[in-house]
């Protein structure tokens, strides 16, 4: 009866609920494809499913490249979720982190080559942390809703970084940031030769490391337990003597650091991506919300959710061969998240099917 036990465990139910949501999202995607062009729908759908596997190792490298930043923003949003906070400000934290990394990468060439990129990434981490800390402090000290402050910080960060780019690292001819020094580019460690792609480097491993660290913090430490307790019941945790205010600030700071690191990893990848001066919020922040929701705020889930979204994004780009618009992938992801919102319902149905009637008890939900 091992299988049944898995189905009834919390992780098992989460997993099944996710699979159902993903199936529903793909089905809606297929229906939309059929509506717009029934002849090409099935080959195009196959291409979405094949995703990163279409072009062999190059495609997989592309999946890693797209996934790495959104795994980190996803981790950022998911971490805040676990502590009862909605970090919609991942976008601004990401941008600030990216700028810090680029600035250090361009200007701090006095650093020895081996540690230049490490310092740049640490800079990204700190910049993101500072940006995330502000909503945390305002929430803890002045009871300001973190959603609205995060949104404000997104725009302030975007405009501030636009000013700083033009002031310090601007290439007016190409109207973008100047390239970072070679020593600031994240090492490829031979992966570029292995995958035959210039877009890959060790940053996917840094992302995985971050996932593991956050997993351990949340699940194996007292600090993580306190954070989750604050998220589940602020009143009860205050009664238990947990310093809720300190935890709110720390939680948002760590969330910001993760997003900032994501920005650093993307712009130090040495793949020809530069910072532009545009009045547009970084989409990686909002994709991070998708990733966190899809991964049910579980670090391991977020890792796979990020890879999955990277995978079907590559597939979505490929379906342009069949004259389809890549946005179909966003529709699929949106549908998956919409159905993911029913997780509670799906889980309680699983519970009802799998339990004997006499065992039926209300399914407790952990957010």
């Amino acid at each position: 009866m091992k299988k049944r036990k898995f189905m009834l465990s919390k992780g098992g139910k989460d997993f099944i609920a996710s699979i159902i949501a993903i199936a529903a999202g793909l089905l809606i995607g297929l229906i939309i494809l059929l509506f717009s062009n029934s002849k090409q729908a099935f080959p195009a759908f196959g291409m979405i499913l094949k995703g990163g596997f279409t072009d062999g190792l190059v495609g997989i490298a592309q999946v890693f490249y797209l996934s790495t930043p959104i795994i980190l923003t996803g981790l950022s949003v998911g971490f805040a979720f676990k502590t009862g906070l909605f970090n919609i400000g991942s976008s601004g934290q990401f941008t600030c982190g990216a700028f810090a990394a680029v600035y250090i990468g361009v200007k701090w060439t006095f650093l020895p080559g081996e540690i230049h990129w490490v310092v740049a990434l640490i800079g990204a981490l700190i910049a993101g942390a500072l940006w995330g800390m502000v909503p945390g402090i305002l929430k803890a000290v002045a009871n300001v809703n973190e959603v609205i402050t995060s949104i404000m910080m997104n725009y302030i960060g975007m405009y501030l970084v636009n000013i700083l780019i033009v002031k310090y690292v601007y290439d007016p001819i190409k109207s973008q940031s100047v390239p970072v020094a070679k020593t600031a580019i994240i090492p490829k460690a031979g992966l570029d030769k292995l995958f035959q792609s210039n877009n890959i480097n060790i940053s996917i491993f840094i992302a995985i490391l971050a996932v593991i660290v956050i997993y351990i913090v949340l699940n194996k430490t007292t600090f993580g337990f306190e954070l989750k307790a604050c998220g589940l019941s602020p009143d009860a945790s205050r009664y238990a003597g947990i310093n809720a205010k300190r935890n709110i600030i720390l939680s948002m700071t760590i969330a910001g650091a993760l997003s900032g690191l994501g920005g650093g990893l993307l712009y130090l990848a040495g793949s020809g991506k530069y910072m532009q001066v545009l009045d547009v919020l970084a989409p990686q922040g909002f994709n991070g919300i998708s990733v966190a929701l899809l991964g049910m705020s579980n670090p391991i889930g977020i890792l796979f959710a990020g890879l999955f979204i990277g995978h079907i994004t590559v597939g979505g780009n490929n379906i342009q061969l069949y004259d389809f618009v890549p946005e179909i992938v966003d529709i699929i992801i949106a549908t998956i998240i919409y159905f993911g919102a029913f997780a509670l319902l799906i889980k309680s149905i699983i519970g009802k099917i799998r339990r004997k009637p006499s065992e039926t008890a209300p399914v407790k939900e952990e957010k």
């Binding site: 002045a142 404000m152 919409y338």
Partner: protein
């Protein structure tokens, strides 16, 4: 004096859409449903409204076309918001997740449809709605140039919506019931109010208003719709929270933000500001920084509806 007129006229273009959408959000949240999907609903309303104008502008023009397009925007916003209502009311889903899904879905859907139908995602339209001067009213000294020149009919519709919304939520039986469902749904249910129905009404009203807001945002500021409302839905959410979920305060917050936005985009016409050595980007940051600072001092007693975000379960009464 001309500068003052110009600033007020510009402020309207920024403040009115925020006002309409934030009031929409108020109806949803006061009924107990968090509506973070305002941005997505605005995109949907803008898309169908502009699409309608695009199709029919060869046959008609001017205010009638705009009014019909507003109706289309309201209906499409209302229908789209049903997805959120269904998820958060019937299925007791997490309202943040459902709202995020809608925000993600709308632009993708809009780009997909536009590009499938016409090859490009931008939808062009001719601005036949601009009014240089409202007849008669535009001639009133001071008030005329201030409010009735260089204007769009949407400004007056927006102000009308604000008045009606204030009356509906504060003075009518429906408003009382709506507020009850957001504060204490169990109590409302115990006196025979159908919480589900009221919440549906709240969400659909918010959808209709957000749909209108999407169109109202695009018409004065652009001549093509590019599948985006530039984050105005999120700003409206900020205005809603800033305005403490109360009609009067929301109106004040929307105009505060509108004035700040106007300074950010039009500071160069104000001679004193133009001579200051401050870059455009700094002015653009001001509205957001000002909001942060004010919130820091004013949020101690948040008046958020108590049952906001909590799915109502008859069984838990």
């Amino acid at each position: 004096m001309d500068i003052l007129y110009f600033i007020v006229q510009q402020t309207m273009f920024f403040a009115i859409p925020l006002l309409i959408v934030a009031l929409g959000g108020m109806f949803s949240e006061r009924s107990g449903v968090v509506n973070i999907a305002l941005e997505g609903i605005m995109v949907m309303g803008g898309f169908f409204g502009i699409g309608f104008i695009h199709i029919f502008e060869s046959r008609m023009s001017g205010q009638l076309l705009l009014l019909l397009a507003l109706l289309v925007a309201a209906i499409s916003g209302g229908i789209f918001s049903l997805l959120h209502a269904f998820a958060s009311i019937n299925l007791k889903a997490d309202q943040t997740i459902s709202g995020t899904a809608l925000n993600l879905f709308a632009p993708a859907f809009v780009v997909f449809v536009a590009r499938m139908l016409q090859g490009v995602q931008q939808i062009q339209f001719k601005d036949t709605f601009h009014m240089n001067k409202v007849p008669f009213l535009g001639d009133i000294p001071f008030i005329g140039p201030l409010l009735f020149r260089n204007a769009y009919i949407t400004t007056y519709i927006g102000l009308g919506i604000a008045i009606v919304a204030g009356i509906v939520i504060n003075k009518t039986k429906f408003g009382l019931r709506l507020r009850a469902c957001g504060e204490h749904p169990q109590a409302a249910d115990s006196v025979g109010i159908n919480v589900y129905k009221i919440r549906y009404a709240g969400v659909v009203i918010s959808g209709a208003l957000a749909g209108i807001g999407g169109l109202v945002f695009i018409v004065p500021t652009s001549t093509n719709f590019n599948a985006s409302v530039a984050g105005y839905g999120f700003l409206a959410l900020a205005v809603l929270i800033f305005g403490q979920w109360r009609t009067n305060k929301i109106i004040a917050a929307a105009f505060f933000f509108g004035i700040m936005k106007t300074f950010a985009s039009a500071y160069s016409v104000v001679p004193v500001l133009k001579t200051l050595p401050i870059s455009t980007e700094v002015y653009k940051m001001i509205p957001y920084i000002a909001t942060l600072v004010i919130l820091a001092f004013s949020s101690r007693n948040s008046q958020a509806p108590k049952a906001e975000g909590i799915p109502y379960d008859k069984g838990s009464r």
